[in-house]
Symmetry: C2
Subunit: 247 residues, 2 copies
C-alpha cells in the first residue's frame, strides 16, 4: 500500500496514482521506502522473476542496507501478496497461477466497479468530463496507430482517473494493491492483445453513463466491460502459458 507521495494533498490531484515506472527519486529516500519501492519495482517489471528465492541477508546485501528496513519492506510486500515468506527458506517472489490471476481480477473488478459507481454518483465536473473525453480519443488514436503499449498505458490512466474521482480513499488504496498484482500478468500478454476495438467502444459507453451521473447504468456498463476484458485477458494468459506459474 503505497502511501501518498510526500505529505498532505490526499484528496487532491495525484494524477498518475499508479506507480511502477522509473523509480525517479530512488536515491535520497528513507531506507525502508527505498527497499519497498525498489523490490516492488523489480518484481513488477520481472527483474525479480516469480519463484526467485532470496534470504533476508541476500536482499539486504542486494540493496546495501541492513536487514531491519528490508524486513519491514518485505512485510509490506507480503501483505500485498507479491512475495511469500517461509521462515527458514527465505522470501520467494510469488508465482501467479492462472487461478491466482483469476482471483486477483475478481477482486480488482469488484472494487473498480464500485469505484466507478461512486464516481457516477458524485458526478463529473465539466473539466473532468473533458479530460476523460480526451483520454478516450487518445486511446482510439493509439488503436488506429496499432500502438498497443501506448493504448495500455492510456487505459490504465483512464481507469485510474475515474477511480480517483470516487472520493473513497480506502477504496483507492485497496485498488492500488490489487492493481500491482494484475500488472505483472498484464505486461506478459501485452504483445498478444488484439486491437482493443471492444474496449474503446465500452469506454465510450461507460463515460457516457458517467457523464449522465447514472449510477445503475454506469455499474451495468462498466461491469460488462470488466467481465469481457477479464475473460479476454484470462484467455490470452491461458494461451500464452500452459497454466503453470508465469514469469
Amino acid at each position: 500500500m503505497p502511501q501518498g507521495e510526500v505529505t498532505s494533498g490526499r484528496r487532491g490531484k495525484a494524477r498518475s496514482s499508479r506507480s511502477v515506472p522509473s523509480l525517479q527519486g530512488l536515491t535520497e529516500m528513507a531506507a525502508r521506502e527505498r527497499a519497498y519501492h525498489d523490490l516492488r519495482y523489480r518484481i513488477l517489471t520481472g527483474r525479480l522473476a516469480p519463484g526467485t528465492t532470496l534470504l533476508e541477508t541476500e536482499l539486504a546485501a542486494l540493496l546495501a542496507l541492513s536487514r531491519t528496513p528490508v524486513r519491514e519492506a518485505v512485510i509490506k510486500l507480503e501483505e500485498e501478496g507479491l512475495v511469500e515468506v517461509r521462515p527458514r527458506h527465505g522470501v520467494t517472489v510469488k508465482a501467479l497461477s492462472l487461478q491466482d490471476f483469476a482471483n486477483i481480477l475478481d477482486v480488482f473488478s469488484a472494487l473498480e466497479i464500485r469505484a466507478f459507481e461512486l464516481s457516477a454518483e458524485r458526478g463529473l465536473s465539466p473539466e473532468q468530463a473533458r479530460l476523460l473525453d480526451r483520454m478516450v480519443e487518445d486511446m482510439e488514436t493509439a488503436t488506429a496507430n496499432g500502438d498497443i503499449a501506448r493504448w495500455s498505458d492510456l487505459d490504465d490512466e483512464f481507469h485510474s482517473e475515474v477511480v480517483a474521482l470516487c472520493g473513497n480513499q480506502r477504496l483507492q488504496t485497496a485498488l492500488n494493491a490489487f492493481w500491482a498484482q494484475q500488472y505483472r500478468a498484464r505486461m506478459m500478454i501485452l504483445p498478444l492483445r488484439p486491437l482493443p476495438e471492444d474496449s474503446n467502444a465500452e469506454h465510450r459507453a461507460v463515460l457516457e453513463a458517467l457523464k449522465l451521473g447514472d449510477r445503475a447504468l454506469t455499474r451495468e456498463r462498466h461491469s460488462a466491460h470488466r467481465d469481457r476484458a477479464d475473460k479476454q485477458q484470462l484467455a490470452l494468459l491461458r494461451r500464452s502459458l500452459g497454466s503453470s506459474g508465469l514469469a
Copy 2:
C-alpha cells in the same frame, strides 16, 4: 491481514475465520504475532480508544517486548487502517468519522457481494445448504428472543460462512481486513438496533438464490440486503454520535 492459522489447510474448513474474541493462546505465541493480535484486539474492543496516542517505546513496554516486533506489528495495523503513524508523534488509534465508516462499508459491501456471487456460481453442497439453513433459523430464534447480541454474532457467522465458500482466498483476506474496521462501529450501535426483521427475510431470500446457484439473482438480492443494512447502520451511527470521531 491475519494469515492462515498454522500451515497448510488453506482452502479447508476455517470455520470462524473472523477473529476478535478472546485471544485464546495469547501466550506462547511469537512476539510479533502476539503484539499484532494483542494490539488489534485492544483496538477492536475499544480498550485502546480512538485518538489514543502511544510512543513505540510505550507500546513495547505495554507488551513487555522490544521495539522491533512492536514496530512490525504496527506496520501491519497501519496497512489495515487501524492506526496512524506520525513519525515524531507516536502511533495513534484512528478515529473513524462517519465518512470513514461509510467508505469502509462501501468497500466491504462491494467485496462481500462479489464473494456471494462467486459462492452462488460454485453452488452449495447439501451439507452447506443445511448448515446455512440452520443459521438462518437460529437468527430468527434469536430475533424472537430479542437477543440482539446473539443475532449479531450469528449474522457475522452467516456472512462469513458464505464468503468462505467463494473459493477466492485473496478476496477473503481483503474482506477480513475491512471487516475489522467495520467491527468497531458495529459494536457501538449494537444496542440501538431495531429487531432485524428485514435482515432475516433478506437472508432467507439470499440463501434461496444461493441454493439455486443463480449468480445474478444472488447479486441482486445480496446487494439489496447490503444497501439497506449499510444505510441503516449509518443512520444509527449518525444518531448515536453527532458526526464526530467515535469511541
